[in-house]
Each structure stands twice: as C-alpha cells, then as structure tokens.
Amino acid sequence: MEVPILKQGDCLIATVQAALTDADLLHFRTALIQQVVRCRSRGVIVDLTSLDVMDSFASRTLREIAQMIRLRGAETVIVGIQPEVAFAMVQLGLKLEDVTTALDLEEGLAHLGKGSASSA
C-alpha cells in the first residue's frame, strides 16, 4: 500500500493510512526522501489521522524519516495523531522524541509557514 505524497508549494504532505505493514513503511521512507530531494522541499507534513495503531517499528521509522529529512535541510511535522493512539503510545513508552508534532494539517502548515503571512 502506497502512501500518497502531495506537493503544496515548497512543502510535501504525506497522508498515512491505517494498516501499513513494515514493508510499506520502509517503502514510504524511501519514497518520501526521494520526493524531498526532487522537489527541494523545505517542509514535510506526515498526516497520521487515519493511523489506528502506532507500534515501536512505526515510531522508530517516523523518527528516522524526520532525521533523514533534517539532513536535507528540511523540517518534518507529524500531525493528526489520534487521542487514543497517543494514549497507547505513552503507555508503551513511545515518545517520538526530537520530532515536531502538531494537532492537524492546518496547524502543521501554520508551523512550517512561520515567518510568512499570519497564521490562523
């Protein structure tokens, strides 16, 4: 299952669905970095609104994605984590350290757009 990645200005928006296998996540990681390079994006939003379970592998992969994107000089914002998923994550001990998080797509774009026109 492929994760759709859209270009919005100089940012990329990746919308993750539920039921991503490990292989899907690794494929996503590769595809996203390629897109960042190709589009010379300065910001990436990973939208987890539809993600129903976050386990240790997904959490590790997302952190790696953010690290790799940072090495390309771009910033990653993870948005849309569901309240229940957030709760399960902290119980399990997954913190997504060093990763910027925001409530939703709007907030994520506002964060990336700081410095430009006024945010909502």
Partner: protein, 304 residues
Amino acid sequence: MTPGASNPARVPVQEGSVGTAEYPRPGSVLLRELVAHLRENRTQLREEWARRITEAQLLTAMTKDEIFAEATSVYDNYVEALETGTFEALQAYARNLSERIIPRGVETHEVVGIVLLLRDVLARSLFAKYQADFTKLNRILDAYEPAANRIANTVAVGFVQERERIIREQQEAIRELSTPVLQVRERLLILPIIGVIDPQRARQLTEQLLRGIRTNRAKVVVIDITGVAAMDATVANHLVQTVEASRLLGATVIVTGLSPEIAQTIVNIGVDLGKMNTVGDLQGGIEQAERLLGYKVVPITEPS
C-alpha cells in the same frame, strides 16, 4: 497500579452450578408433566405468589397491579425456561426487568426473595398434587429442583450484574464531573486536578484532556496539581505520560502547583524536569501560557 497483577475481586462464577442433581433432559416425561401442571394451575399459582410477595412486604416500591403484571411475566418465563432448558430468554428478561425496577429502588434481597417465594409456591403445589404417591413426588422433585435452582440463580445474577453495570456507569460519570477541562481562552485549556488520583481516574483524566485538546484545538494546557492529595511515583508517572501524550497532539503543557517535594519525586523517577514546563502557581502558569500564545494582558487605565 501493579502491572500484571490479577484483580482479586474477580471470581469466576459458573452459572447453573447450584445443586448436585443433574439437569433433567428437556422433553423428559417428568419435566413435561411438571410443565403441564404449572400451565394448568397458572392462574391460582400466580395469585398465590403475588399474595405471598405482598405478605412478605417485598416490592413495596410497586403497586399491586404492577407486581401482578411482573409476576405474570416472570412466571411465564420461568415455565418456559423449565420446559426448554434454555435460559437466554430468561436472562434477557431478567436484565430487562432489572433495568426497569432498579431505578424504582428495588433491592437485591427483594428480587432474590420473590424468586425464592415462587420456587416455594410451586414446590408446595407439587407436594399437594403428589402427596398420595411419595415415590412419584420424589421423582418429580428430582426434575424440579435443579431446574428451579438454576432459574433462581439466573434471575438473581442477572439483577446483580445489571446493578454493577449501573454503578460502574455512575462512577464513570462522577469521575468525569470531577475532572473538568476548562477552556479559558482560545487555544488554552486549564485542567485543575483535585483529590486522589487512582489509575482509573488518571486514565480517564488523560483521555478527557486529549479529547479536549482535539475539540478545542488547544495549543497550551495548564495542569494545576495544587489540589492533588498524594503524589507518589505512580501518580507522577501518570502526569508525565499526560504531558507526553498532549505533546503528541501538538499541545504544550505547563504544570503548576509543583511543590519542592513533588518536584523531587518527579526527578527521582528519572524525568528531566528541565524538559517539563513548570511554574509555581496557577496564575503564573496562565500568564506564561498567554505569552506562549502571543497574548498580552494590559490593564485598562482611566483617563484622568
């Protein structure tokens, strides 16, 4: 909360394990005879039972008509359960009945009482019918007793389960009421925590806050723990988890009301307090929150 420990309050109960006699096969001759007898004498046995209920001063919360109406339903369900040997209909009826009568103030002992009275009334009628033939009476009772006991068990357990369900719902409602998440400014929530935090309350608190962050699109949350009764490592952990979960939803948390002792507890569990936003008191916390959100509070000066 000790992870992995069994909850000692849960005891598995096997339905129908009352009594040692084997449950008669549905359709056995004796059972059919028993059921026929109960159907033939339906009118007078119901009346006898209703009379005994009133005599024993049970179901005082209900009128005589209501008692008779319910008695009729219970009686018919009872006989059907005896006849078919299946208890689903009876269980469903017991839950339904409980749902209706619990709000009226009917208590467990009353429900157990009336079911036992019915068992007595029916047993007496069997004694009366078969008094001439002691052997036959014994065999009929062999068929009757395990069935009657199982039915009494089913109805009583159904009632108790319904009560427990209602109590759990009420507890949940109380927990929610006692943990208000307040929106004071746009994008700013305040959560004053007062009282004892047990694991269930901690969880409910966290879930409520996270939902509140989502609904109110809060960017800053001030959690005030001045009123928390006792802070130990477990509660401190819940607090830390709440802060972390809120961050995952993009909200910054400011913890206020931290005494030096609590600060020490948190440090002892290995949390770097430098990473947690803390302010001494609630007012200070709100002011910092407003600064984070870009508000500036300016006093209105009167023109002289």
